[in-house]
């Protein structure tokens, strides 16, 4: 029933008075921001499915240490807590970067992204030191099936964070050079989704790998 005024008032049994147009109206193609964001959301979910395979591998191989060191002897929970804090803080500042982008405030956007970058780099530095330390103690990925699974899972997350860092710097440069154009805004939206999703995966990593793994 198009148009505000009803041609046949008696044909309106529920007295909606032309309200049909509101609520579930379909007015053509969705804006590009929604289409792009939705597509990227699907990618993130498929990424999580990939991580679930690594988590399943780790859980199955948790006890297959081949006489080598187990999680209890290897994991330093104080380091893990610091890593968790870094990633959570960077997720928080990333949120402020998206607010700044929505309000088109370049200064606060660059500051929030820079802080996010620093927290992410701190996370990567601690993780890199942990890996180097493990390899030095003879607990590298070749030592046992448990350690192979550990390095694959945690390393894959670390790889995602590294890729996110590169993307973050790209976004800072693009906003610096091109400003808050609509396409740049969409990329910022996707970057924020990616960065927050990495933090969600880290929740599973520190719970399953480190906290439950170090109790074994």
């Amino acid at each position: 029933m198009a148009g505000g005024a009803l041609a046949y008032p008696h044909a309106d049994p529920h007295h909606l008075g032309g309200m049909q147009a509101t609520g579930t109206a379909h007015t053509g193609v969705a804006p590009k921001r929604i289409v792009t964001g939705y597509g990227f959301w699907i990618f993130i979910l498929s990424d999580m499915v990939m991580f679930s395979a690594f988590f399943a591998t780790y859980a199955v191989l948790l006890h297959q240490t081949a006489g080598g060191p187990s999680g209890r002897e290897l994991f330093n929970l104080r380091n893990v807590a610091i890593e968790t804090g870094c990633l959570l803080a960077s997720s928080f500042t990333c949120g402020f970067a998206s607010i700044a982008a929505d309000f088109r405030n370049r200064t606060w956007f660059q500051i929030a992204m820079a802080v996010t970058c620093v927290f992410g780099l701190a996370f990567l530095a601690i993780e890199g030191r942990e890996f180097a330390d493990l390899v030095e103690r003879g607990a590298g990925p070749t030592r046992s099936a448990f350690l192979s699974a550990f390095f694959t899972l945690v390393g894959c997350h670390g790889l995602h964070v590294s890729a996110g860092e590169l993307w973050l710097l790209t976004m800072m440069a693009q906003v610096f050079a091109k400003g808050f154009r609509a396409d740049i805004q969409r990329r910022i939206l996707c970057f924020a989704l990616f960065w927050h999703a990495l933090d969600i995966i880290w929740i599973a990593v520190f719970t399953i790998v480190y906290l439950i793994g170090s109790a074994q």
């Binding site: 007015t27 929604i34 498929s46 399943a56 402020f96 939206l189 927050h196 933090d199 109790a215």
Partner: protein, 132 residues
């Protein structure tokens, strides 16, 4: 207050990650992230505390840790990714539900099958003897 997008929102959907159709005020949006951070810190601290404590029955600790992790993922989804149960978010939630289904099938199925294979397999030393 406008959020400054060039595209007009003529549809009743939200992009994943977007919180408001017309852009909330700075205070509202910042408060969302602060609330999320507070809850996340609380749940993380509880996780690390529970993992090292002797106060509770030991076999319950992994279950408690998994519950705390799922709760924290929920907090992140709602306060950071803005995936909510609102009518403008149904597409995003349905995609998430499908993703969660696949994740549960992969993890649960692998653990189930592998534990049965482990139980039904001959101990390794006996297999080694048969191969000689």
């Amino acid at each position: 207050m406008s959020n400054g997008y060039d595209e007009t929102h003529d549809s009743h959907d939200l992009a994943p990650g977007d919180e408001y159709l017309e852009g909330g005020s700075l205070g509202e949006r910042a408060l969302g992230y602060v609330t999320g951070l507070g809850l996340a810190v609380l749940l993380t601290a509880t996780s690390f505390f529970v993992a090292g404590t002797d106060l509770v029955w030991q076999p319950s600790i992994p279950v408690a840790l998994v519950v705390l992790a799922i709760a924290q993922m929920g907090v992140h989804l709602v306060f950071f990714l803005h995936i909510t149960t609102g009518p403008d978010n149904t597409n995003n939630v349905l995609a998430l539900a499908f993703g969660v289904l696949i994740v549960l099938l992969v993890i649960g199925g692998s653990l189930w099958i592998m534990s049965h294979l482990n139980q039904n397999m001959m101990p390794m030393d006996q297999i080694m003897q048969m191969q000689r």
